[in-house]
Subunit: 135 residues, 2 copies
DNA sequence: TATAGACCTTCCAGTAACTGGAAGGTCAAG
DNA sequence: CTTGACCTTCCAGTTACTGGAAGGTCTATA
């Protein structure tokens, strides 16, 4: 049984985050020592690691909660997990498309900007212009 | 001089957001009517539009503040603006790379997952595994 | 004139997922 | 016995809004 600092080190999460996950009941410690320290057993270390990995994949904490309950469920089907993952993939693709569009437009503007001491700048000009959005 | 609702409509921003921008002194109304309503003149409408566009490009509100001061500055140089834009482009590229990596890994996992009633699932398996991160 | 509805005002609280800090208890080493 | 590194709780701040309540104002219509 590790206390919070050791559990943090073992799972690669900041101590504060582990405490936060306990508070929101995402991963609750297996118990407390007599002096009130949080104690983490192997099962909880696995869950913390699981959450760290899933978060790194961009899953929200609430998604992690779903995933964790499937992870814990001996009778889960892989279909459940896959559908959550696919849903998530769609979101990633949307963000990706937005960012790519943004990147293309902004780098175009930056290229058009001569970037010297003169005051006129195509970037600012494109931000100004007619008021209402015409998308 | 437009009141807040009209200004919002004219610039394509939600009323709440316009009020928020006034509160954080990003774009302050040119005045108040006798009954206390915020009033927006043309200059402020331009600034609001400017901010909406810059925000759509992913610039943070604080970046917008920088940009806005350059925008207002008659003696600005385009170099200042360009350097902010380039800084921002680098950030976009980093996010893009992260997302692409994420997408590749997750779609690989989803493909490997048979997605039926069986409990074993490569996605969950990859989230579990050894504790400490080995990046 | 009454009243309905659509405006406007302020202030308070909540969102997501932490992070930082203060005040104080505990523990091991030198 | 003190120093430093732990741990605890609680409170506040972050980003950029968004929602809602309570209440004032304006305009049209019956």
């Amino acid at each position: 049984m590790l206390n919070i600092g050791e559990a943090a080190k073992a799972t690669g999460l900041p101590t504060k985050t582990v405490r936060y996950y306990a508070e929101i009941e995402l991963v609750v410690p297996s118990g407390r020592s007599e002096n009130g320290y949080r104690l983490y057993a192997d099962t909880e270390l696995s869950k913390l690691t699981f959450v760290r990995r899933a978060r790194a994949f961009g899953f929200s904490v609430e998604r992690c909660r779903e995933l964790l309950s499937l992870y814990e469920d001996q009778n889960r089907s892989s279909a459940n997990v896959k559908s959550i993952a696919l849903r998530h993939l769609v979101e990633i693709e949307e963000k990706l498309a937005d960012l790519q569009k943004l990147h293309a437009e902004l780098s175009h503007l930056a290229q058009a900007c001569h970037g010297d001491a003169r005051p006129d700048c195509p970037i600012l000009d494109s931000f100004a212009g007619p008021h209402s959005r015409e998308e």
